[in-house]
């Protein structure tokens, strides 16, 4: 087995057990969606108008849930030292961690997002676009969240710090994703916002591992 596969297996298993994994994130997402009609009232027109955007914002928050322990546990129990002395650079380790996080929470959330939006009154035809936007956006959320988690290492109340660091960075994908879903539903051109979302997500995948590795090394020293 290659070391990359060995690492990926470990990270998937850790992501699954961390903070309840997929069940917690999806549970939070669904519970928040159930609260929306209670707060706004059950008028179908009103719910349908906000369903897409609401599902998208709650998705961003749900994907932050289990992020704060992403590097912290490895830092506290000394495993980060072991990872740093391994055959792969820390940048790769960080990217694998984020991909595992996306696989365990981002992908189930992306599958839940169209279901929740349609249940709230979005048109069924919008479901594929919501799925695509949520999957791409989730990738950006996982890598940005990982950056926040790495920067918050070795600081007290890291969880709050992560939210403060990461939420502003989540605004572009929320804007692009929301626009893609809205335009698609309204029959307007949707390729541009979706491409921008994809570009942002891929930019995060390409760049944030360097920030994460730097932050980890800083915390270790």
């Amino acid at each position: 087995m290659s070391v990359l596969a060995v690492l990926a297996r470990r990270e998937l298993s850790l992501a699954w057990s961390r903070g309840g994994g997929a069940l917690l994130a999806v549970g939070f997402f669904v519970a928040a969606a159930v609260m929306l009609p209670l707060a706004l009232g059950p008028a179908p027109g009103r719910l349908a108008a906000v369903s897409g955007g609401f599902a998208w914002v709650v998705l961003a928050l749900a994907s932050l849930l289990s992020l704060d322990r992403m590097f912290e546990r490895d830092f506290e129990d000394g495993a980060l030292d072991l990872l740093a002395l391994g055959p792969l650079p820390l940048e790769i380790v960080a990217a694998v961690k984020c991909l595992a996080q996306w696989t365990v929470t981002g992908a189930p959330l992306a599958l839940a997002a169209p279901v929740v939006a349609v249940a709230l009154g979005a048109r069924l035809a919008a479901a594929p676009m919501i799925l695509a936007a949520a999957a791409l956006g989730g990738l950006a959320f996982a890598f940005l969240g990982g950056t926040g988690a790495a920067l918050a290492l070795a600081s007290r109340r890291g969880g709050v710090l992560i939210a403060v660091i990461v939420l502003p960075l989540l605004t572009p994908p929320v804007i692009f994703g929301g626009a893609a879903i809205d335009n698609f539903t309204a029959g307007l051109p949707w390729a541009t916002p979706l491409s921008l979302l994809a570009a942002y997500a891929l930019g995060c995948v390409a760049l944030t591992p360097f920030a994460m590795a730097g932050a980890c090394k800083n915390a270790q020293s």
Binding site: R73, G78, D81, A84, Q220
Partner: protein, 204 residues
């Protein structure tokens, strides 16, 4: 493969404080150095500097192999084991999963890892979660990685602290075998190592 570790005029500081300066040491293949010194003298910091986690204030660290100088990055990635105060084990995972991961990650394989577990008397414990192991059992599990994946330079920080006397003498035998194959050991200790070692004092 590392055959010599050279430390020249090293100075290390934590925060505003300089822990030590002008520290020099040469560690050759087949040799053990026991680093001694008071609490806070900088033993752990020195080990972490050798492992590349701390940037020294001054001085030079170099790793040499049979064909001359080995780039520090390569030496650390491929040929250096570090066991710190923490064992790097996850409480919620089974001992077997943790041992196999640590061994494979540092260049060993499953067969060697299981043989190492057997050697350290861990076979019966492998199906337990790490959280239920005692401190000594956990340390033995961490030490198993040293023999599960062959790397020349062992950096050990208080390796004996949680071990009972039988495990200490077994670890002495394992160190002797490692040295016989050209290994190097740099260990920060308070108690004497169960093997003949050159003693170097920090902050004297």
């Amino acid at each position: 493969m590392i055959t010599t570790l050279k430390i020249r005029d090293l100075a290390i500081g934590r925060g505003e404080r300089v822990l030590f300066r002008d520290f020099s040491l040469t560690l050759e293949a087949g040799e053990v150095i026991a680093l001694v010194g008071a609490n806070g003298a900088g033993k752990t910091s020195l080990l972490r500097a050798v492992a590349g986690f701390l940037r020294p204030l001054a001085g030079a660290l170099s790793f040499e192999g049979p064909d001359g100088v080995v780039p520090a990055e390569d030496a650390r990635r491929a040929d250096c084991h570090m066991i710190g105060h923490q064992d790097g084990l996850k409480g919620g995972r089974r001992a077997r999963d943790e041992l196999l991961f640590q061994a494979r990650w540092s260049g060993g394989d499953a067969a060697r890892a299981l043989a190492a577990a057997d050697r350290l008397g861990l076979t019966r414990l492998l199906d337990l979660e790490v959280r239920v192991l005692s401190a000594g059992q956990r340390r033995r599990l961490a030490l198993a990685r040293l023999i599960a994946s062959p790397r020349s330079l062992w950096l050990l920080d208080e390796p004996l602290a949680p071990l009972d006397s039988a495990a200490r003498s077994l670890f002495g035998v394992l160190m002797a075998e490692h040295l016989a194959t050209g290994g190097l050991v740099l260990a920060a200790v308070h108690d004497a190592l169960p093997i003949t070692a050159r003693t170097v004092e920090i902050g004297a």
